[in-house]
Symmetry: C4
Subunit: 372 residues, 4 copies
């Protein structure tokens, strides 16, 4: 599909981008992007978890117009909001990952390219400024090594290793829709599985067939992380950690940062919300490296809450796809612009001059009187 010009009036916030994307996409495609595993408990919890916190602003501190700039692993980004890895951007607009990369570049943030990109690593990378590569580890370690080498060669500055897909979570909407990634969108980077083939089993989606048929390693170990660290100088950033002990292990095995995530509620339904896991993870490893949050961020105040609870930055996934679906690169850019504008205003309204000034004292438990 070709991205239409942006709708008039423009969506006012990320919720409206989702609504506009629902109108723009084929229903099964929307479901694929929007959906979660099984009963979508975790999908909802990822959002609800933000509502467990309220902000306690300070006033009269003479806060100047905030700067949103921060550093991640020593490199500067214009705001502490990154693009999460998601697959098959050409489902949402013709330019696919190229559009995403350009939007990130225009915004001054990091684009995380998925192994499941619908364009070749090199093609998308050509449009990117700072970008990270998200890796699914293949059983065939030669394939894995090759992916890492290509990403490194194409200029990636970080390697995000997904650790929460020993099997694909069951997204029943996809089964119901018999959703299959359209021919031509898969295999951009790894030739082996033929994901375009029709699903073998009526009760399974094409996507599940793709993964089942694929060569992703279902039994990853911490040794594999060590091995990856030995392959590349890129900083390793495991994604999909919820348990504080796993976060500690990650740093034991060479990680430079961890991404607290439940895969957007698409893997284990009933898993703890990402934001609910964040404070314990941050408490366990804050001295050892950076902690990022992925899951449910839709507002500038969500970003603030995550920062207050220990994240150095957050990722947004689906909202970028809504932006792509609504208006291609311009849509993705405007999604990031909206978050940036909200975050700047929210920092000011909280009496904070920068992301670094956001501390634990900014948030208090919701639905109860302030503790005296």
């Amino acid at each position: 599909m070709t991205a239409a010009p942006e709708p008039t009036p423009l969506p006012l916030n990320l919720h409206e981008y989702e609504a506009a994307a629902r109108a723009a996409l084929a229903p099964a495609t929307f479901d694929y992007v929007a959906g979660g595993a099984e009963d979508e408990v975790t999908l909802r919890e990822n959002r609800d978890a933000f509502d467990r916190w309220r902000l306690l602003p300070r006033v009269l501190a003479g806060t100047p117009a905030p700067s949103l700039t921060t550093t991640l692993l020593g490199r500067e980004v214009a705001l502490p909001v990154l693009i999460a890895p998601t697959g098959f951007h050409r489902l949402c607009c013709d330019d696919g990952e190229r559009a995403t990369a350009r939007a990130a570049r225009a915004t001054g943030t990091i684009y995380t390219m998925s192994t499941a990109a619908s364009l070749a690593i090199e093609a998308a990378a050509a449009e990117a400024a700072d970008w990270w590569f998200q890796l699914y580890v293949y059983r065939d370690r030669a394939v894995t090594r090759e992916l890492v080498a290509r990403a490194e060669a194409a200029g990636a500055t970080g390697l995000v290793v997904t650790v929460d897909v020993p099997a694909l979570g069951r997204r029943e909407a996809d089964d119901r829709n018999r959703f299959a990634i359209p021919p031509g969108l898969t295999g951009a980077n790894v030739p082996s599985p033929s994901p375009e083939r029709p699903p073998a089993d009526a009760s399974d989606s094409g996507l599940a067939a793709f993964v089942a048929g694929s060569a992703w390693e279902p039994a990853l170990t911490w040794d594999d992380l060590d091995w990856l660290a030995s392959l590349t100088p890129l900083p390793l950033i495991p994604k999909g950690i919820l348990h504080p002990a796993d976060a500690a292990l990650a740093f034991d095995h060479g990680a430079r940062a961890v991404i607290v995530s439940n895969h957007g509620g698409r893997q284990l339904d009933g898993a703890v919300a990402a934001l609910d896991a964040l404070p314990a993870v941050a408490a366990a490893v804050a001295e050892r490296g950076e902690v990022y949050l992925d899951g449910g961020v839709r507002r500038g105040t969500d970003v603030l809450k995550a920062l207050a609870l220990g994240a150095r930055a957050v990722f947004v996934g689906r909202p970028i796809l809504w932006g792509l679906a609504v208006a291609g690169e311009a849509g993705a850019r405007r999604v990031l612009d909206l978050l940036r504008a909200e975050l700047a205003r929210d920092l000011l309204l909280c009496g904070r001059a920068s992301p670094a000034a956001v501390d634990r004292a900014l948030v208090v438990p919701a639905h109860q009187p302030l503790a005296p």
Copy 2:
């Protein structure tokens, strides 16, 4: 009724089996199976209690493809999910308990046959592999002794003794529907009461009349349990225990295992949810025998939560009947297949290789941040 072939597309989960069964059954029959006592508070709580817990998975443990096999009282089952005793399976499909027994056999799990089976013990047992007999104790102890002897002779390997029916809970939908078990479906195993007669009182269902007219013992005692233990070498498994002290007493009086259950919300409305009672019961008696959970299990993640909270296995009741109603034996089998597939995937996603590897650390309280 004759079980229809399975619908196309196949139901994707147990919730969809319930919806399909609602369409397949006469409304009053559906209500009889689905309903609970009075305001159905406990019926709902049995489900809601699972939502009080979230899963905290581990990653990168190199978990191999899980084995679901476990042992119950020393005997192996293919998965820690058993068929709960429910009455009158011929309400749902012509083959009735024979179909259920075959589904259990095909799945490698235990079928628990109800005293209120709509087929003779021996007829259903002929189709079963491993099976337990559920006993309602009759005032006439000769009748009781005869039932136990027949079950033992027919090959039962366990005796589940229902302890929560000193009177029948009031299921008002049955009263409203003037529901009566159809002629021919009752009395398969005990001749005395004539449950097929029309209800004597317009405000009472035929079922209540059946029980009121029946000779079930309303004032069972721990001595009765001792007496049953003296009757048979079969392991005694009281069903319907919620209080930890009762669980301890059960083991004092010869029980080999206890089933934490509130009779699927069909007896005392307002009784504590089965899952809510489980951890305290398990803490009280875990060293003395096995603890099972009955009530509200619909997902593989429900099974995991119950195991984490102290159950060695769980029972499913209504879902089996939905399977029977939708497609007879094949339907019941597929219900179990779905649970097996979910459980296998969920174990893997939790970083656990087997039911035995599921520990208390897998679950955390829902709706709140992880404790640091």
Copy 3:
């Protein structure tokens, strides 16, 4: 109105009696009976408070068929459920308080006659067995003295003194409906105010005008309670106490029992639910006299929860009026019959042989796992 014969099929529970009464009564009359003050927060809370508790039954105790008999202030009643004082029963059926008195007599429980009865004290008392008189204290103490004397002469065995009406709560539905007690239903016992006159102010209901114009004492004191005790040998039972300290004061000033009540949510909106106040009141005064609960009881299990939390008996108000509206005396009787049948079954299902056997251990907090 003349009470119709009972509907077919008979209502199955008190909720259905309410629905049937809504159909039987003029909307403004239904609203007058059903409604609460302002936003009806407390009205709802009175019900919701029961849902904060779950029952933890015992099994295999050999519980015989329970007896519901108990004693109140030394006198036996057939069940621990009394008829609360409510006004103007002839709004609901022609026989009015006579029907109520007969229903109580048939059931073996106590009828509490309201000062605002729509029949003369003596006329209603003639149909009653054991009954208590509910007193609104008039500014004119001679009127008050006369009411007490008449009640005593007519055979009352207790004097319930309402203490929570220093002003009438604002029931906005009555204002909206411009509800007025119909001519002929008021003034049965006190001649002074003419409540039948049309409301003076368009924004006020006729009822508010009645009270505003009446001579009820708005500034009652503990001395007034002493004075009442000096007037009559009848046991004094203050009704409308929520604060534990007030319960203690009541016993200091001659009370024999207290009724924990917020006037069915009709007075101070936002007041604590009656059941929520009960345990603290019972803890404060249990050694000094009896404690009763009024507010929100609709099920046998509600009665059990109140008993477990310290009440010796409970009152039902509106449900009796629903019974009267649906079928006159027979309806009120059947409402009590339903509660009796539920209570008997519930006791048995809880493993308790009598109200006296209901202890604090029967209830546990809802919506959470059982404490180990």
Copy 4:
């Protein structure tokens, strides 16, 4: 618009005034007044916070008809309910702030005039009895000084300094409606910005343009408060404080009272509810000056809860505008009359003779049994 005569029947409470105002106002105007920032989380929380508390009344204390009179900063008001500063009253009725001032005078309470009044300070002040001036501090301190001087000259007795608008909160309904303050309603007191110009940016409301274009100081400091204190003998009352430490700082810098407020949920969405912040603020500074509550008050019982939790008085904002919209001055007066009547009745029902008699013991946490 000209205020219509009051509707028949008169609205019974403030909720009905809101409904009547919705019918009377242009939709975009209603949205401007009613709306909050972004997802309106804080807007709702301001109301919900009152539902976290229940009232625990006392009885038989012989409470006389209550007096509502209290003092604020040493001056007597007829009731502890003040008119909050809100802008542009001529949006709601032709007489605008004049009508509001008269309503306050008739009621015997304080009118707080907004910097954003749609009439000149002097014109509105001419109709007021006791009134306070609400100040937005301008970057141009000469403009600021001039406003303070005019307010002082016109007879203001207090200076409310808004401290929570370093930037305007995003009220998306205004953006959606492209709402602009109509020509002629702005600039009554400060000439510089021309708020009537059409919005420059399609995605921004006229109001945001007004503020963006205005000269309000975005980086106020405690020194600015000191400076204001040096300008005028009027008592300084910072408005928009939520953090207890900021309340303490306010008194360090010359404040005589503080207003706990989140600007009616119109600034930082997700900010803690005003009532939730109140007890901690009151605990921190109660010895040092007066604390007021602004946000969500709609009932007499809300006033009582705020008083019990540490407020000496409360503000109502939107309800006054609903009154103006429905019936001009008479409507605003009746809104205050309703609150006065409710408060008088509620005090009596709580067994309290005056606002001063309301203590912390009057409120208990909702949704749970009373602590023993």
